[in-house]
């Protein structure tokens, strides 16, 4: 169990997808002007990461990995080159299903997430999470923990960033730095702060 807590902690802080691996930056910079939209997007990312990473893990382990098809009598088959297509397909399908399900059962949350949910298909933090899962060679239960932690870390990062940006709205910034330039600088400072978490680990 402490193994899983460690995976979550590391995914949230030391290996934060947004601030340590710099994934999902397009959405991060574009959708962080207001705190409430950032909050909705953060929730969506947590949900999508927690669902897609274990599903992709299962598919990878049972079908794609080299030698994984031995249960079907094909021990020499290596389909791992298909992982990009499979992962992006799973993500696109799942985001679509989530979109429809939320619309049907939790319309309040759905209207709050608005257009951000479909956009998550092309958020590199989501695909990146699945690719890192392969690189880390996690098993199914670990991948649930990793997915949750990765989503939570990304959500935390965008919330912090959105709050800072709200404060900066009325500040007097040099002309050329206004908007995107300053957003980059602030993200740089945040990322620098998060690099202090490197090596964080819970010891039993």
């Amino acid at each position: 169990m402490s193994e899983h807590v460690n995976i979550v902690l590391q995914a949230v802080f030391a290996e934060n997808l947004a601030l340590a691996y710099l994934l999902g930056m397009c959405t991060f910079l574009a959708v962080s002007k207001r705190f409430d939209t950032a909050f909705g997007l953060g929730l969506a990312v947590i949900a999508v990461e927690t669902l897609t990473i274990p599903i992709n893990n299962w598919l990878y382990e049972t079908i794609l990995r080299s030698g994984a098809l031995s249960w079907a009598g094909l021990p020499d088959m290596d389909l791992s080159f298909l992982r990009f297509l499979t992962f992006i397909g799973v993500i696109a399908a799942l985001v679509q299903i989530l979109d429809m399900a939320l619309d049907r059962f939790v319309p309040v949350l759905h209207s709050r997430l608005g257009i951000f949910l479909p956009l998550l298909t092309v958020n590199c933090a989501v695909l990146g999470g699945s690719l890192f899962m392969v690189q880390k060679e996690l098993d199914l239960s670990e991948s649930v923990a990793y997915g949750f932690g990765a989503g939570l870390g990304w959500a935390l990062a965008i919330l912090v960033f959105a709050s800072i940006r709200e404060r900066l709205r009325y500040s007097d910034v040099p002309e050329g730095l206004r908007g995107l330039g300053l957003a980059f600088m602030v993200t740089g400072l945040l990322s620098l702060a998060f690099s202090g978490f490197a090596g964080l680990e819970l010891r039993p």
Partner: protein
């Protein structure tokens, strides 16, 4: 004339990273030294040219409702080819770039250009738009990588520029440049410089632009 504009516009006047806010993740993550950045820029340009051409050629027969899925599939196929080619011919670089080659699929430049340009323009113009955006992206990537490699390890393209000895008083490697955070500051400064040079790229103040939004 028009074709030339399509090709040269995205290099500085409408740069994908500094103005369109596209493709930032990889711009920051692979720029620690110039060689991986160069390989990355070439791969993105190749994928971009292929996907723009293919989407433009198929735009007449793609049903609008499933076009996103089709576009992503086209892009993913191109990326698989690029990834396998890199693993075969440049295994070292492929390892350095790790997941970022795969992440070209979700690089917003590729899908963004397919959606906003290739869907509405002819094959030749789309091809040139892909090339132009690839060059604009590569140029930014390489300038960030040049700064980080020069001050971070004293080399350019792995060729030593500053002599590095134990008691070197002239050059001490800047550890900060190895951190991803440095790329943000460099891109921020590049944007600042670019917008001082071309003031029409300056953004309107936020509270004027989006009040009530």
């Amino acid at each position: 004339m028009r074709y030339r504009q399509v090709l040269t516009d995205p290099i500085i006047d409408n740069n994908p990273v500094t103005l369109q806010i596209l493709g930032i993740c990889s711009a920051v993550a692979v720029t620690r030294s110039m060689w991986p950045a160069f390989v990355m820029a070439i791969s993105v340009t190749a994928v971009l040219m292929f996907s723009n051409t293919a989407v433009s050629a198929l735009r007449g027969i793609m049903p609008r409702s499933v076009r996103l899925v089709l576009e992503v599939t086209l892009i993913a196929s191109a990326v698989i080819v690029a990834d396998e080619a890199l693993q075969a011919y440049a295994p070292e670089t492929s390892k350095t770039l790790s997941v970022f080659v795969g992440l070209i699929i979700t690089n917003c430049i590729v899908l963004g250009r397919a959606e906003s340009f290739a869907l509405n323009n002819g094959v030749r113009a789309s091809f040139l738009d892909g090339l132009g955006n690839g060059i604009g992206y590569g140029l930014l990537l390489l300038s960030v990588a040049a700064v980080r490699e020069l001050f971070g390890s004293g080399t350019l393209m792995d060729q030593p520029v500053f002599a590095q000895t134990a008691d070197s008083a002239i050059f001490v490697a800047n550890e900060f440049m190895a951190l991803p955070a440095s790329a943000f500051f460099i891109i921020g400064l590049i944007i600042w410089a670019l917008r001082s040079w071309k003031p029409d790229q300056v953004e309107a103040r936020e509270f004027d632009a989006e009040d009530g939004g």
